[in-house]
Amino acid sequence: MKADPAGVLAGAHYLDGDFACGEGAMAAGCRFVGGYPITPSTEVVERMSRRFPMMGGIFIQMEDELASMAAVVGASWTGTKSMTVTSGPGFSLMMENIGLGAMMETPCVVVNVQRGGPSTGLPTMVGQADVMQARWGSHGDYELIALSPQSPQEAFDLTITAFNLSEIYRVPVMFMLDECVGHMTEKVVIPKAEDIEIVPRRLTKKPPGEFFPYRVNGNSVPEFARAGDGYRFHTTGLTHDERGYPVMSADCQEVCVKRLLDKINDNADDIIMLEEEDIDGADVVVIAFGITARVARMGIELAAKKGIKIGFIRMITLWPFPEKRIRELAGKIKAFVVPEINYGQMVLEVERCAGGKAATVSVPHGGGGVHDPDVIRDAIVGAAK
């Protein structure tokens, strides 16, 4: 369906990534934000709280991030598209209820504008060190989706994608900006509402009594019934059967939890978005995401002057990880070079998928700034030898 014009500020704007993310959320149909504002993500909710009254949206500043994430899960069960916005310290506190969202199959978006960590770290300065936490932060087995934009324009576009994916797969989607993208200002073009494709909640047409909230028919994602629509049912973080009632058994665990993994893994090809450049014939492939993807291109330009054949993969989707593509390339190239603003996180996945068939070179950066392009150039030159 098309976007609700009330939430779409069509036109050309000059926005920072945080504002653009807020605009993307409103265009996507988000009408509830529960959050505890934190630098460098605050501008997202500033923007939304100012504009929300014009479209019937509600922003509640909660008492903390645990409550924020709980409010988002609850709001989503009313059928309202819901989001929270945070940075590292708050992201840590949200982990418990992100797991609840995954277990209850709750569509929602969690925006993390990453700053330097651990702990309170560098409030106003960049980091990309929460990417493993985005995948593994809550306990137990589950799969979710994480996206990473490289510009304010993408902060707008991909926030809409994040909401759409959360609806299709009924899963919390982690939207992993970094402080640089959040606070950089560039031109952002917002299309007209009729040109924005929105995925609505897939509501059941079955009458009460015939509806089972976790029954799937061929489709690995169940239909939804909103709280208040007359369906009496139970939903819980406990392992549950198709009625949503707790069943404490290994058999039920196998059915309940395995499907949480399958619904993402089986559809990984549809979910994963990569941008590839000059891969054919490349000796070295640079893999980067977020702001580091922009800086990496400068390093590639510098190394290309030395006659090295360099390919580039920009990961727009961080999770599920583009396992298949990395495995394919590993047998054909000499090395992967992975710059990221942490001490080596996504590089571990690259190394795992390369399986020893290609070398894997980590180019770490501790946070507080972006890589010097010369450092990335030197890593590429070293990897090509």
């Binding site: 000059y14 630098t39 106003t124 640089c180 606070h183 200002t185 702001i291």
Partner: protein, 172 residues
């Protein structure tokens, strides 16, 4: 603010424009710096590696970033806030053009508001460097400042531009 307006004007002029800023934890009153890149081509870098134009409105900023000016670049400073040591070491490299303007004093005496000093600097810079047209900058100002202050800011901009035009001949 001035950095945001400059970048916005760049996009209005049909160019790519990236603006970033760095600041401390204070909500007001701390040091802040804004980098703007205006380019006909795609922008990959976050901040310019060499400054073509450096607008300095505080002494610590001047002292810190003066060495970042490119060969043939320009230093534009508020002479009420910054003292320029004219020794060769301190005034950037030999090829740096320097332009001082008493922006804070003009803002105070002519407009009754010190805060428009940055807009005076923008007008001054526009006339001196031509990096973005005054029309685009005026439009960007009109769209960026609170509605009640548009006229005040445009007048301040024009005043800065006029002062810059008078000195145009000094830039090669």
């Amino acid at each position: 603010m001035a950095g945001y307006v400059l970048g916005r004007a760049g996009t209005l002029a049909g160019l790519n424009a990236l603006q970033t800023q760095s600041y401390g934890s204070e909500s007001r009153g701390g040091a802040c710096k804004s980098d703007v890149i205006v380019s006909k081509t795609e922008i990959l870098e976050l901040a310019p590696s060499g400054l073509d134009v450096f607008i300095a409105m505080s002494q610590p900023a001047l002292d810190k970033y003066l060495p970042d000016i490119s060969d043939g670049g320009s230093l534009i400073y508020d002479s009420d806030l910054v003292t320029l040591n004219t020794s060769a070491d301190d005034a950037g490299n030999d090829s740096t053009y320097t332009f001082g303007i008493s922006a804070t004093d003009i803002a105070h005496k002519s407009f009754g508001h010190d805060v428009v000093a940055n807009v005076i600097m923008l007008g001054y810079m526009s006339a001196l460097t031509g990096v973005v047209s005054p029309e685009a900058l005026r439009q960007a100002i009109s769209e960026s400042v609170p509605p009640k202050t548009v006229e005040l800011n445009l007048k301040a901009f024009d005043e800065g531009f006029k002062k810059g035009e008078m000195r145009e001949g000094e830039l090669k």
